[in-house]
Symmetry: C2
Subunit: 148 residues, 2 copies
Amino acid sequence: MNVEAKIKTDKSIPIRSKTIIHLSLVQTKINETIHSALKPFDISLQQFNVLRILRGQKGVPANLNTINERMVTKMSNTTRLVDKLIIKDFVARQICQKNRRKVEIFITEIGLEALHEMDAVMTQTEHKLLEGFTENELTQLNELLHKL
Amino acid sequence: MNVEAKIKTDKSIPIRSKTIIHLSLVQTKINETIHSALKPFDISLQQFNVLRILRGQKGVPANLNTINERMVTKMSNTTRLVDKLIIKDFVARQICQKNRRKVEIFITEIGLEALHEMDAVMTQTEHKLLEGFTENELTQLNELLHKL
DNA sequence: TAACAATTATTGTATATACAAATGTATAAA
DNA sequence: TTTATACATTTGTATATACAATAATTGTTA
């Protein structure tokens, strides 16, 4: 991921601008890679993330607020995202009886199985994306990102 | 930007998954920050990037292909993006006389002036986003991102 | 308790984006 | 010259997303 080459500029860019552009380029690459890795499963990255959040609940249903809080990129319309997962029978939704404003969303057996298949592909994709890094460099990168 | 806190998981995440999530979180933050910084100018980040590309041409008009190649996040419909900049009188478009399939797009005086104002805001935003970093750490981060 | 405010989710609408098909132009081949 | 192919952009369409408005329920307070 060579910034200067990519944006084809002759003049040297200030280090901060360069960093921001660099991060954007990296993210674009990551998104494209993950997107195509998930393609065979006919699921979007956002939908995949919701499934993982629900699995993390270990059987406890989550309401929309909880999902929203834990989403990496927040969605204004998690409702419709969940709708799509329901169509696939990956999750189910029911009204919370304690507080009927809330809904309880949980992952189904079918969803768990599908997610398990996707996990393998995702792990593989992550390794491929980060194949240029040593363990030490990964730690370094995370420490630096932590400052942002 | 604390990954574990943000995604509220108890179990420790594999370093590669963590890195990918970390990068996504960082990018979300950057996008939100830049988006709100550009809000007063009523321009999207993509539109801003096109303006910068056109200024980089130093008077030489660019065709759509050139713009597309240099875009950080590639767009399938640069046509419509340029349309919006034309409405604002920031750029102009004319058919290339040498090859009438091509169009020539260039930034106007109004566009240059507007961009100049935005530059100040962007520099400020970049500094704020990266205020936790020393010069040395910025260099380090760029070197690491280069591996991706 | 009635009125009002706060919470939670859903829906409507406008814009953004991805992908494919269509348009118009230029070049090459028969 | 006609046909085919490649090129550069535009348009159509479906989906995604952001933001605001609405609906339903619960909590608060006068």
